[in-house]
């Protein structure tokens, strides 16, 4: 065991538990951790050594899949990249809860089907053409150079959004950011985002951008989307054809 693998801190986990048909409650677990390892590592050890009935979702362990978003002491975090040192101290307590504004399947696992369906409906593209700079410093797109879009669909922005807390119909920051990305809208996408429950429902709390672990900046994208929507409507009113 190398030096940095030593479990030098003791943390108390208070974990939200909820099984179908049973009341919600919190279970407490004492766990020895390395301050520089990640919250998800601690949760996995609880599952491995203390309670095999604990349900949580995760996959990649390197902030690509977006599956391990949870509330850590009341704040949205991607637990695979959040170190113990950044959120607590030796002997400290961590309250771990499922993301807000999503139905809980069991314990820490939430159902994100609605978000995925809406992202599909607005033609969000997980893979986009990359940009590169020419010798004159101009940025260009090349269709043969592809990269993953910044949004990892973790749902942290929807969990943090105060409007998403009160309206199940509001399509949410991740979906609006996904709609903004292509720059042009088909009629069906326009009808979804240019609506009461679309871009105009945002009330500028900027919590989405604050918690985003992937620098998507959903708040900026929603504001940019509003500009594009107004421009699209004006162009259509004046009979100007849009570039496709």
């Amino acid at each position: 065991m190398t030096e940095n693998k030593k479990y030098t801190w003791n943390i108390i986990f208070k974990i939200f538990r909820k099984k179908a048909g049973q009341p919600a409650h919190y279970d407490q677990f004492d766990v020895a951790v390395n301050p520089d390892e990640y919250i998800l590592d601690g949760i996995e050890r609880i599952w491995a050594y203390q309670d095999r009935s604990l349900v949580f979702s995760h996959a990649c362990h390197h902030s690509t899949c977006g599956a391990c978003g949870m509330l850590v002491n009341g704040e949205e975090k991607l637990t695979c990249i959040t170190t113990f040192r950044s959120v607590t101290r030796n002997g400290g307590t961590l309250r771990i809860e499922p993301l807000r504004n999503f139905p809980v399947i069991s314990d820490l696992a939430v159902d994100m089907t609605g978000m995925f369906e809406r992202m599909h409906a607005v033609s969000h593209r997980p893979v986009i053409a990359d940009t590169f700079e020419t010798s004159r410093g101009r940025k260009k797109e090349r269709e043969d150079l592809l990269r993953l879009a910044d949004c990892i669909e973790c749902g942290l922005c929807i969990s943090a959004c105060p409007i998403s807390a009160t309206s199940a119909d509001y399509i949410g920051p991740a979906v609006l950011a996904g709609a903004q990305q292509p720059g042009t809208f088909g009629e069906n996408v326009l009808n979804i985002v240019d609506s009461e429950d679309g871009a105009w429902r945002c009330h500028s709390a900027y919590e989405c951008t604050r918690v985003c672990p992937s620098n998507v900046d959903p708040a900026w994208r929603i504001m940019d989307l509003r500009k594009k929507l107004v421009l699209t409507r004006v162009k259509r009113m004046m009979g100007i054809k849009e570039k496709t």
Binding site: M223, R226, K227
Partner: protein, 132 residues
């Protein structure tokens, strides 16, 4: 499936500032000041009804409004007008792409301006009341 799902009764969560950032504080303050102004409008209309009860009732009401307690209340209205109005300007600007990446600084500036306005109006209003 759970109590976590969005529903209208969660509106109380709008006013929970725990583990939140500056933008959420602005959101909360904007709602509180907006609700305060709506309440003031209702009270204002009720008080205007005093006019219909004759000059004596109106004079009594005006005398009451010159007491420090009611001046402090009016000062809250002034604060709400400045905070809500200026924050509205901030939201209009950021909503159309102006200063979105500086929204925290914009909020702090409008709060400073609102604070200065409240101090100015407090000085004027209490001095006016004192001078009779």
């Amino acid at each position: 499936m759970s109590e976590q799902t969005p529903k209208a009764v969660n509106w109380m969560k709008w006013f929970d500032p725990r583990s939140r950032g500056v933008g959420m504080w602005a959101f909360i303050i904007n709602r509180l000041s907006g609700l305060g102004l709506v309440l003031y409008l209702v009270l204002h209309l009720i008080m205007l009804g005093k006019l219909a009860k004759g000059p004596q009732a109106y004079d009594q009401f005006i005398a009451m409004m010159k007491t420090p307690f009611w001046i402090a209340g009016e000062l809250l209205v002034v604060a709400a007008v400045f905070i809500h109005g200026l924050n509205g300007v901030r939201i209009i600007l950021t909503s159309f792409g102006i200063g979105g990446d500086r929204q925290k600084q914009l909020f702090l500036i409008i709060m400073l301006v609102a604070g200065a306005a409240v101090i100015f109006f407090a000085w004027k209003m209490f001095a006016h009341a004192g001078g009779g």
